[in-house]
């Protein structure tokens, strides 16, 4: 597969990864800002996330004396894995060498790896909250996994591929086709994304109410650059899901060649789509309340049901036989 090794493509891949890094805090900040607007607050400026990160990076890291070496390694692992995951998602252009290196299932694998170490880090210090957070995080993700995979399957079965580039390409070539399966898959994937990125109604990134937090409970003991990495990683994850959804289901505008113009157009399209999605999410988070942990299964069952319907409608309606 030599054509995957053209330096140009790799350069583009690198650029896209960097864009991810740069964009992730922005998206988070945007959502936060829109939310506060909706709550009639002014809210922090869009640059706030960057400031936070810079501040944290400058601070000295505190590590609990009970923590083991894993506690200090985890942030790098989590951040690195999430970053690599992000690097395989087509951001501006369709053709992406990294998409061939790791398809969508591997992407899920990367995120799982990050989550694995995040949860371990949560348990490492040996506090009650860390374990609680780890346990809940693993439960939620476990329940989200099948729905996620079902959605991926529905797409993959239409696109006959699990390679993200090919999937996007397929949807581009197909043009505007109304597939019930895609509708269901999209809805399901949205629910999953919300759960996976720890947003309301599953988790609340803003809370430190002991008994309600999941993600926060795991990174409770982190500080300084470690905390920064963890935060950054979760922002990356949020953006990753966003890009995944918008680029796979509504690929229009994404660059099909590596010309500057089309790349720029792709960037514009992406920003527009992401802003829209962020807006949606913010609205949702404003109108919804966080659920009890044991309502989460129902929520995720709904997601699974949707994706399952997506699959069925694919099998029954779209291919017949």
């Amino acid at each position: 597969m030599d054509h995957f090794l053209t330096p140009g493509d790799w350069g583009l891949a690198l650029v896209q990864t960097l864009l991810f890094l740069a964009g992730a805090p922005l998206l988070a900040a945007w959502i936060r800002r829109v939310k506060s607007r909706l709550q009639n607050r002014r809210g922090p400026p869009l640059t706030q996330s960057y400031r936070d990160l810079r501040k944290l990076f400058a601070k000295e890291a505190m590590v609990a004396d009970t923590a083991s070496v894993l506690f200090r390694a985890a942030p790098y692992v989590v951040f690195g894995s999430t970053l690599v995951a992000a690097s395989v998602v087509p951001l501006l252009a369709v053709s992406l060498p990294t998409a061939a290196v790791a398809d969508v299932i591997v992407l899920v694998g990367f995120l799982a790896l990050a989550r694995f170490f995040l949860a371990l880090a949560g348990m490492d210090v040996g506090t009650a909250f860390g374990g609680m957070g780890a346990s809940r995080e693993m439960l939620v993700s476990a329940l989200a996994e099948p729905a996620m995979l079902m959605a991926v399957f529905t797409l993959a079965m239409s696109a006959h591929s699990t390679n993200l580039s090919s999937m996007v390409q397929f949807n581009l070539d197909a043009g505007l086709v109304l597939r019930p399966s895609f509708l269901f898959a999209l809805l399901g994937l949205l629910l999953v994304a919300v759960a996976e990125t720890g947003r309301i109604p599953i988790d609340n990134p803003a809370t430190h109410l002991e008994l309600t937090m999941i993600h926060e409970a795991m990174i409770l003991e982190y500080s300084g650059r470690h905390l920064a990495l963890m935060e950054w990683a979760s922002q990356l994850k949020l953006m990753l899901y966003g890009v995944l959804i918008v680029n796979v289901f509504l690929p229009w505008g994404i660059a099909t060649d590596t010309g500057m113009a089309s790349l720029a157009q792709g960037l514009l399209a992406l920003v527009a789509k992401l802003l829209l999605l962020g807006l949606l999410l913010a609205v949702a988070e404003t109108v919804l309340a966080k659920m009890r942990l044991f309502r989460a299964p129902h929520y995720l069952n709904l997601a699974f049901l949707l994706t399952l319907l997506g699959l069925f409608s694919h099998v029954i309606l779209e291919t017949g036989a």
């Binding site: 597969m1 348990m123 040996g126 044991f294």
Partner: protein, 670 residues
């Protein structure tokens, strides 16, 4: 007797294992014999087995011969082909590491009242039996080797027979092994009956009607499934595996179950021949159920070895999912996809063998160093046993199917196979298979959760008991055994293409088509169907991860940033946290218990003790018991009581029976 080349090392392997058993006979006299001679012989046997297996896989030859043993008109037939080679290598690899690990571990028995002869002798027989099973080419030798394997492992399970639990486990194990063996025997009987002979050659030629083929298949599925530990005939497994000495548990869980998988593949793909897709559906369902139930039950355990045993059920389930897919594809005329699924199953087979052995050895190391098998008593071991901790982490990541280790690759291949369901004519199958795959995804995620729990509770946090506090790193040999396996976890995770091209001969032999296109784009790229469909480049993934980790850490730990201040845990500023405040394994799994509650029998009650403190009891047990096993037991007991009632003790009654029989027979004859 002159053996063709690949058979030579194979024979050497078997002989070395037997020799190890032989020298152990004297181990009760000289205790060190076990460490100094028996175990090295096992290492030799293992290495020879690996060599033989790789030899036959590379050369692609099929060698056969006869041994002057067995029945007069049916000498033991030995046949060594790619499939046998693969499994022999697998056995050898695990045996080697176990035997490296063994000497350090068995030291603790040298001053007990246990018979080292029994330990060493039956270990050798066990290994030899397993090796002979994969070499057998007729039903008689197969059954003999098979039962030798079961019987010797039974003696190993009951090795520490003072505990009633171990005796019960051993009995249950042997009973189910026997029942399974009888089913297998019946299956072979059906084949031999139509094939005219108990040699596998004759059976391959058997022309069975579809019905009888299905009967034979069902018998084989039951028999081999019982040994492999498929739900619902798995109940012996979580009882028997944990109570054996840990290196034996490793052998049983990692290798013996695989021998059952071998038997199943040999029987259904090789001997039965033309596979029906209906069988595949059955296998797929059983596999999915086993995978899910296995991992759920595992989540509920807090005894480390028991938990690992339940994970064997899960992984066997995954293997059978692959096999089921392969059968479905093969049965509906998609040999290429069938080959893909089969390879995925085989890949997971060897992966599970390696990381499960690694984990059991790790558990053994903990047991050896901290004398604890209950996770609630562990904690903070990573600081005290860094090497074991590292290797165990590798095992956890692998079994949780996370990149870049081996467990992920096989699950990825299984998913890829499942994703090709669209190629099937039958719409029901097209929608059934993805659901099975979704279950597989759920299983994987739950496994990850389970091993977060395992590693977090046992190796991280604070020590929960004095034992755990004073644990010390284990001996070099024991570390070497684990290290070898950990290394292979990584290798198989990074070098799938090499491995695939190595075992390519198996699908070629069984299904007629190879999987060469999966590796034709160079060692870097794994493309199971076609580059445009899916591709995975493990080496690049590893590089990417290392780059990301490396760069980020280098960049952030430069200069004064490197410093970290050590302080007390914050914990939201509550009172100083202590070991008792940590999340326990039971607490960790509580949400899962609640969400999946109806699948277990959960008995939970809180009782207040007289000193005012409260006592919380929790029992989570298999539903399989009251649904399947209790009734059978009751039936047999009732029947035997009925028969016992005949023996009244009245001689006149007995005479009456005689008279009655006589009259009835006379009436019949006239």
């Amino acid at each position: 007797m002159n053996l063709p080349l690949p058979l030579l090392p194979a024979g050497l392997a078997v002989l070395a294992a037997l020799a190890s058993a032989g020298v152990s006979l004297l181990a009760n006299r000289r205790h060190s014999l076990l460490r100094l001679l028996a175990m090295p012989l096992l290492v030799l046997s293992g290495i020879a087995a690996v060599f033989a297996g790789i030899e036959v896989l590379l050369s692609g030859v099929v060698v056969a011969t006869q041994l002057p043993l067995g029945l007069p008109w049916l000498p033991w037939q030995v046949r060594f082909d790619a499939l046998s080679g693969f499994f022999l290598a697998l056995i050898g690899l695990v045996t080697t590491s176990v035997a490296l690990y063994g000497p350090g571990y068995v030291r603790q028995y040298e001053h007990g009242k246990h018979s080292l002869t029994a330990l060493g002798g039956f270990t050798g027989l066990f290994v030899a039996g397993m090796q002979m099973v994969v070499l057998a080419d007729d039903a008689f030798m197969f059954m003999v080797a098979w039962e030798v394997m079961s019987l010797s492992s039974y003696f190993l399970v009951t090795f520490e027979h003072e505990h009633p639990a171990n005796r019960r486990a051993g009995f249950l194990y042997l009973l189910m092994a026997q029942v399974g063996a009888l089913c297998i025997l019946a299956g072979y009987g059906v084949l031999a009956w139509s094939g005219g002979g108990f040699t596998f050659i004759a059976m391959r030629g058997a022309a069975l009607s579809g019905g009888w083929a299905s009967v034979a298949f069902a018998l084989a599925l039951l028999g081999f499934g019982m040994k492999a530990g498929l739900v619902p005939v798995h109940v012996w497994l979580p009882e028997a595996h944990p109570v054996a000495p840990s290196h034996i548990s490793a052998l049983m869980s990692a290798v013996m179950l695989k021998v059952a998988v071998y038997g199943f593949i040999r029987f259904s793909f090789d001997l039965l021949g033309d596979v029906q897709w209906g069988w595949g559906v059955a296998v797929l369902l059983l596999g999915s159920i086993s995978a899910l139930m296995g991992v759920l039950y595992a989540l509920m355990q807090h005894d480390l070895k028991r938990l690992l045993a339940y994970h064997s059920v899960e992984n066997i389930g995954i293997v059978f999912i692959g096999l089921g897919l392969s059968m479905i594809f093969a049965g509906s005329g998609q040999p290429l996809l069938a080959a893909l699924a089969l390879v995925a199953a085989l890949y997971h087979t060897i992966n599970h063998a390696i990381f499960k052995a690694l984990l059991f050895l790790g558990a053994g190391a903990i047991l050896h160093a901290a004398h604890e098998q209950d996770m609630e008593q562990m904690g903070g071991l990573l600081k005290r046993m860094p090497w074991t901790g590292l290797f165990f982490l590798v095992g956890c990541i692998s079994i949780a199917a996370l990149p870049p280790f081996n467990g992920f690759v096989s699950e990825w291949l299984t998913f890829q196979a499942a994703l090709q369901a669209w190629a099937l004519e039958n719409g029901v199958l097209r929608s059934l298979i993805p659901i099975a795959a979704a279950l597989l995804a759920l299983t994987g995620a739950l496994a990850a959760a389970c091993f977060v729990k395992v590693y977090g509770v046992s190796f991280l946090g604070r020590a929960r008991s004095r034992h755990a506090q004073h644990a010390r790193e284990v001996s070099t040999g024991m570390r070497a055994g684990q290290g070898l396996l950990a290394l292979f976890c990584l290798l198989l995770g990074v070098m799938p293409t090499a491995f695939l091209s190595l075992i390519n001969g198996i699908p070629t032999a069984l299904l007629g088509v190879g999987l060469s296109h999966a590796t034709e784009h160079g060692w870097l790229w794994l493309t199971p169907i076609h580059p445009s469909v899916a591709s995975y480049s493990a080496p690049l993934v590893l590089t990417g991860l290392l780059l990301a980790w490396g760069i980020s850490s280098l960049w952030l730990r430069r200069g004064k940033l490197r410093r970290v201040r050590s302080c007390e845990a914050w914990d939201c500023g509550f009172s100083t946290p202590n070991a008792r405040m940590q999340y326990t394994a039971t607490a960790f799994s509580q949400p899962f218990r609640r969400v999946f509650g109806l699948l277990f029998r959960v008995e939970e009650h809180v009782s207040r003790l007289e000193d005012g403190s409260q006592k919380h009891e929790l029992h989570v047990s298999d539903r399989a018991w009251e649904l399947l096993y209790a009734p059978v037991g009751r039936w047999v007991t009732r029947a035997s009581a009925l028969v016992g009632r005949l023996q009244t003790g009245h001689v006149r009654g007995y005479l009456g029976w005689t008279l009655g029989t006589l009259l009835v027979l006379l009436w019949i004859i006239s």
